[in-house]
Assembly symmetry: C2
Homo-oligomer: 476 residues x 2
Amino acid sequence: MSSKFTTREADFPRWYQEVVAAGDLAENAPVRGCMVIKPHGYALWENIRDRLDQMFKETGHVNAYFPLFIPKSFIDKEADHVEGFAPEVAVVTHAGGKQLEEPLVVRPTSETIIGHMYAKWIQSHRDLPVLINQWANVVRWEMRPRLFLRTTEFLWQEGHTAHATAEEAEAETLQMLEVYARLAEDYLAIPVRKGIKSRMETFPGALRTYCIEGLMQDGKALQMGTSHNLGQNFAKAFDIQFQDTDGQRKHVFTTSWGVSTRLVGAVIMAHGDDRGIVLPPRVAPVQAVLVPIFRKPEERDAVLAAARRAIDGLKAAGVRAKLDDREQLKPGPKFFEWEKKGVPVRLEMGPRDLKDNQVVMVRRDQEGKNAVSLDVLTETVLKTLEDVQSSLFERALERRDAMTNKAASMGEFEEILDGTGGFVEALTDGTDESEKAVKDNTKATIRIVLEDGDVGGECMVTGKPATRRALFARAY
Amino acid sequence: MSSKFTTREADFPRWYQEVVAAGDLAENAPVRGCMVIKPHGYALWENIRDRLDQMFKETGHVNAYFPLFIPKSFIDKEADHVEGFAPEVAVVTHAGGKQLEEPLVVRPTSETIIGHMYAKWIQSHRDLPVLINQWANVVRWEMRPRLFLRTTEFLWQEGHTAHATAEEAEAETLQMLEVYARLAEDYLAIPVRKGIKSRMETFPGALRTYCIEGLMQDGKALQMGTSHNLGQNFAKAFDIQFQDTDGQRKHVFTTSWGVSTRLVGAVIMAHGDDRGIVLPPRVAPVQAVLVPIFRKPEERDAVLAAARRAIDGLKAAGVRAKLDDREQLKPGPKFFEWEKKGVPVRLEMGPRDLKDNQVVMVRRDQEGKNAVSLDVLTETVLKTLEDVQSSLFERALERRDAMTNKAASMGEFEEILDGTGGFVEALTDGTDESEKAVKDNTKATIRIVLEDGDVGGECMVTGKPATRRALFARAY
């Protein structure tokens, strides 16, 4: 039962590949860059999706569905957008046995087609705001694919809203950023830094892009979600106008925001250990698994009956509990399998436990075992799940804070990156050139602009007076 | 508030288009044959999906996700399958700025790519059965598109299972047919005939195709779901083998089964009336809407406060209830809007009602209004929703039975089809030729084979001894 995985320290990318496979989450598809999301991985995504969907509905949004195919001419309508996405789109040129008159792009994101529809739907201030989300698959041709983190096809949600004023659009953009941060912290147990992107890192076609950034155990940042204030860029490109209360026709202000199956990758890299993945209880497909133990046939019935009662009690209390009563597998391999699948709480019940009116409980995030009386099993499991949830968050937070540093010079900056890695706060003169120089020299990018303006100090690149304080990191 | 729609009797297809648009369910996308599913239509689909997903899980299935793109060579591996689907696939030839070495087909269905994966996953009898479903979009190039009924892209679920024996595969195929029939009858309130397809109507690559068939108000049948026993056809094409308990390597037996957004079309055509769509309460996004009525500002507060209390009571009882408190719309247009959206129960509350401690209740499926005491509002609405649900089913059943007839000759057969339409039971000699002759002459197809063998009587086409009793209809 000891780990067979490459350790995180020895080779993090390889560890990642191994635990994703061993955790039965996903594997590569025969089409390069695409993935098959296996049942355990998909159930995890479903839990994330359902939670987020509820948060969207609580903030007044509704779901809809827009087509997979976008006329190529649509993508071309917004100058930055086409520049950003044209190199990575997949194009349908033939269909129904014929060459198409106009090639169709498989959506890399849906601002353009949704903009086209909103132009029809929105006529008056009474039609605003429009608050729509869609759950969909999108395709961006990927040169260096990695399961969940970067795949040619991925699953995501994309919210698209339209508003009468710039202020409302900005408020919506920030509200959804907050929703994402809550999802990450309260459900995925991943502390995030949130804030605004630099111009270079802004979504093609957006006025401003906000993001949440998590820090993975290898010291690299992962952008976990983005929320874009699109200003009137798409409204002008697609002529989305409304008659305002003053009788004037005006362009709307739009936003878009999304998170994807990449979040599954975040969970793995934030919490996994050298024994495999570790799932936060609030999104774990199975929160508690019970493995019955018996040798003799006469033990079997008594143990299984007690195990079923325990599972029923847990389920009645809302725990996603599973009885692993597979006959052909011994307990050892079962323990190992659930460990690799990251199940937060494992319960073991044998004849002796039964006699002592107890089960043995093992937390996935800790070493050691504890005996728990069957009389208090349900409440103990409920409490333990909450403990695991908060422990994972606390551990990730400590790690993140320990890996967040300030650099006063390029020398310090590189030293930190090559040492612990993590987030590095530093000053620059705010130019694209300096940002690019940092990236070219160190592979670190601005994850979040913390402050623009009179920040004091000197740019670590040019030595000129600094006008920007930013959070840098090497990132996925 | 009178209907502005073309009547069903005057022009059913046009009525359909008009009520779909007026009900705000969907509209055509800028790409021919594709649709945009609007929030109200999508919420209806979500309710159908969630119910079905629960039924799948109750029968032991899990969800997963397979890629959108399938290498063209995969489709070519099963002879019937390629013949069936090649003419209607969309093909990606360029991606990432380059021409692809092998073109990629946008999945029309996923037997091939899933077969490829199952060949890797299945090694031993211990790996069986595999019971996986996926919710996905698929693309089949459509020459005569119609919203929900026939669209180039549609949303669906496709179950794909693998079994050790032919018997288990057949049992699974029939179990899922039963699940579909329950969904149709108990939730969509549409009575269905279920049974087996003729060879000509069998899914390309299947051994046997079973289906559920509903009858629409215009007398045309609609295939609402199919369940295929694929035998070992795909197992052989993709080499899906397992080591059985006897040590022998054997090909598995597979099934696949699916329903799609077409079900939304079925609901519209089965229950809609000349005032618009009518939704069965169990899947209606809004089950009860309350429209407050007031003229003077001093009435406003009292009415709205009472309305909110009523809505809270309904929601607490699990009713999907909505308060329509939009300020800029008068009650009349609100009534009309909810009627067109098919909401089963409408409540109206004005100052006089409030004084009398009552609301006015209007059932979407009936004429007339009833006063309901506020003291018993919640239980009355709950009971009424159940009544509407069963009334819709009963009405559809009566209609279906009235439109189910027997024909002893081609003359009678055509007379029925051109008269009431509907299902026609008739005898044939069981050959493809006779089936084709019926189709060519009357546009009717075999929806279900009722009995093969010694059925007595004569083939209505050839006059030869009949060997088949079948249910025919003109169909969507």
